[in-house]
């Protein structure tokens, strides 16, 4: 019980859509009448729909978050995963007390510092040093605390030369580094980080990730992290939750959370184009079982399968046209590519992927028609998803280990003699 750092209990948040100013007064009066005079429930709390931004709703009230319940342990790094509009930022805003929940309660142990947007409250006219004091005090540090940390902050941000220069002369990267550095040295028990790492350069990202790991592992502090970058999510976080349309749909280990999220969001396992004004384009792309020729998206690891491309061309295919594709892993890191020079009058191409090539998991295919280094003839808007099912390979013995993606047959020689 004592090792819980934050506890979310039934957190919901309702927003009003549209122009806020219209009808506010009448709604306010109505609400006041219903709740204070008639002692009824707030009439506007009952209505409100799930927050699906693409469909037009009936009500102008919407639930950005609905009944969120979870706990974060001390020293844990929790990743919050979700599409745009899933409620991630709202959750962080409530946590950093920028806005209040409509219902529910959050209990936390210790100081919460948020990096919702670093460099907030930086005054462009003031120098770096002045801004460190300013920003530090905004985040609740006392003057003494800042005094003792000043050198460390400046050093970590790498802005020692500029510390007495107005912040308006800083590059955007420097501003972010300074902001992150201040917050990271706050020593809060709970640190809320939202997509800050996207801004700095590679070197700083590494440093920042290292600092966050120090914070969680070394000092036993808790970090809540929001990012769309599944790679950094996977390296940083221990556990993860998935938000979907304001509801908590998954909570568990980060690896499982990422996999669940990705396989939920990538449903397209084929591609079809009915019309295009391009001279040469992909008409149809799909996967099929190479034995019974049935289209599918899941293939056993020990059976070969086909990638089928149907092309359409209005004129002759230009010389040197190449069909290339790249296979990506679930976190969209490229694994390998293959290329084929097209001859004229080709319509259908079938690629045989051998058995025992890919390990179990989700993959993406990204095909392209191009004349290498000259021009692209056709691309498809979204990568196509397929899965390899591990139905009992030797790798499946190590369920939770990250073993890579490619199966390689190496020659293992056993010998009793000494090697020379």
């Amino acid at each position: 019980m004592d090792d819980i750092a934050i506890k979310f209990e039934n957190i919901s948040k309702q927003y009003r859509l549209g122009l806020v100013s219209t009808k506010t007064l009448s709604h306010d009066l109505n609400r006041w009448w219903q709740t204070s005079v008639l002692r009824k429930e707030d009439p506007y709390l009952r209505i409100g729909e799930t927050n699906d931004r693409s469909t037009k709703g009936e009500s102008e009230y919407v639930w950005a978050l609905r009944d969120i319940n979870f706990e974060v342990k001390k020293g844990e790094v929790l990743g919050i995963i979700g599409k745009n509009g899933a409620g991630k930022s709202t959750l962080l805003k409530i946590l950093s007390r920028v806005t209040t929940p409509t219902t529910g309660i959050i209990k936390a142990q210790g100081r919460i510092a948020s990096l919702l947007e670093v460099g907030t409250g930086f005054h462009p006219e003031s120098t770096g040093r002045e801004n460190i004091y300013m920003n530090g005090s905004i985040m609740g540090m006392t003057r003494k605390e800042i005094d003792s940390k000043l050198d460390e902050i400046v050093e970590f941000a790498g802005v020692a030369r500029y510390v007495d220069t107005p912040v308006k002369r800083y590059s955007s990267g420097m501003t972010v580094r300074l902001g992150f550095s201040i917050a990271a040295h706050l020593e809060p028990e709970i640190l809320v980080v939202d997509e800050v790492l996207a801004v700095g350069d590679a070197e700083f990202q590494k440093k920042a990730i290292g600092k966050m790991q120090d914070v969680s592992q070394g000092d036993g502090r808790t970090v809540l992290f929001v990012s769309h970058n599944m790679g950094s999510m996977a390296t940083l976080c221990d556990t993860g939750i998935i938000l979907e349309k304001g509801r908590l749909v998954y909570s568990g280990l980060i690896k499982d959370a990422i996999n669940t999220y990705i396989s939920n969001s990538a449903k397209e396992s084929s591609y079809e184009c009915h019309f295009s004004n391009k001279d040469l384009y992909f008409k149809n792309i799909y996967f099929r079982n190479s034995i019974d020729k049935k289209p599918s998206k899941v293939f056993p690891y020990d059976k070969p399968f086909n990638i089928c491309f149907e092309l359409n061309h209005k004129r002759n295919i230009p010389q040197d046209t190449v069909l290339s594709f790249t296979i990506f892993d679930i976190q969209k890191r490229p694994l390998f590519s293959s290329h084929k020079v097209l001859h004229n009058k080709i319509n259908d191409i079938v690629v045989q992927v051998p058995a025992h090539l890919l390990l179990g998991g989700g993959y993406y295919l990204r095909p392209v028609l191009h004349i290498p280094n000259i021009c692209f003839l056709d691309k498809i808007p979204e990568d196509i998803y397929f899965e390899i099912e591990d139905t009992g390979s030797i790798h499946s013995l190590y369920k939770n280990a990250d073993l890579g993606f490619i199966n390689v047959n190496l020659v293992w020689n056993e010998t009793d003699e000494k090697m020379d």
Binding site: D2, K7, Y15, R16, V20, S21, T24, L25, D28, K93, I94, L95, S96, R97, V98, T99, T100, P101, T102, T103, G104, I105, I106, K107, A108, Q109, G110, R111, I112, S114, L116, E117, T120, G121, H123, E125, S126, E130, Y133, M134, S137, I138, M139, G140, M141, T142, R143
Partner: protein, 282 residues
């Protein structure tokens, strides 16, 4: 179980009206100091005259009033030299109206920073009122300079014992402007119309206060109307203490003081309620 002691931060929906965390305010006193310092320093950064600009405003206003109200309209100044009379009113009124206008746009001006980090929002208007004291102090120096000039020149003005009330007067002005300002700023988060109306009201308010005229020009029967204005007695007391003219009445001053306490109290309660959710409506 020591459940309640374990959690140090609790975030919940709307709190009661009087659930105001004053302890937290005190914990953030360093932030208040930073804001005050920032306000003062940034005001004249990249200007050549720097703080001297604070003299220019009241000096020019005084000259303008001398021409328009003293010269053209011929309004009495209770037999006092015009610069002295106008300047005394302008100093006080400038402080009051600056605080009022600045605090009344607290939420609108700080939307950006309020939207990203949490700190007790009340720090913002309180530091505005504090940093404006600096400007007020400088303008008061101008008044004192003019005052000494006239004393040396032989005009029969002299400060009296009531000058000891000056700190109280300043606190009352600060409290009134803070109270009104935060009420307006809380209301404008939802109803923007008010902020437009408010600038106009502040202008009118000045004419309802004995700044450009002494209270004595009003017929005694009508003076009670002017006395309803809580700023009236503050200005009159200041003039009485420094220049020896005008009216002084403990009851009047007491009324203003109670008025201030009520406005400030209501203001803090309203502001506290609005600050928690204003990001959704602003």
């Amino acid at each position: 179980m020591a459940e309640s002691g374990k959690w140090t931060t609790i975030i919940k929906p709307t709190t009661g009206l009087f659930d105001i965390d004053f302890k937290e305010l005190i914990r953030y006193k360093d932030l208040w100091r930073m804001f005050v310092k920032r306000d003062i320093v940034t005001q004249y950064k990249q200007t050549i005259l720097g703080p001297l600009w604070f003299f220019v405003n009241p000096a020019l206003t005084t000259i303008m009033y001398m021409v328009v109200f003293g010269g053209i309209a011929g309004i009495s100044t209770d037999g006092l030299p015009q610069p002295l009379f106008y300047l005394s009113g302008i100093c006080l009124w400038n402080y009051f109206s600056t605080c009022l206008l600045k605090t009344s746009s607290t939420f609108k001006d700080n939307e950006n920073i309020f939207g990203k980090v949490y700190f007790p929002r009340l720090i913002m208007p309180v530091s505005t009122v504090s940093s404006s004291l600096y400007t007020f102090g400088i303008q008061l120096i101008l008044f004192v300079a003019v005052y000494i000039y006239y004393i040396v020149a032989g005009v029969p003005v002299a400060p009296n014992i009531y000058l000891l009330l000056l700190p109280v007067l300043v606190i009352m002005l600060a409290g009134l402007s803070l109270g009104f300002g935060i009420i307006i700023s809380s209301l404008t988060t939802k109803y923007r119309d008010l902020s437009i109306l408010f600038t106009f009201i502040v202008q009118l308010w000045m004419y309802a206060t004995p700044i450009i005229y002494p209270l004595s020009v009003m017929s005694p029967k009508k003076q009670w109307i002017a006395a309803l204005n809580p700023v009236t007695s503050i200005v009159e007391t200041f003039r009485y203490a420094t220049l020896g003219t005008g009216t002084f009445d403990w009851w009047q001053l007491g009324y203003s003081f109670i008025f201030m306490c009520v406005v400030l109290g209501v203001g803090i309660v309203v502001f506290n309620k609005v600050q928690r959710s204003f990001m959704d409506t602003v």
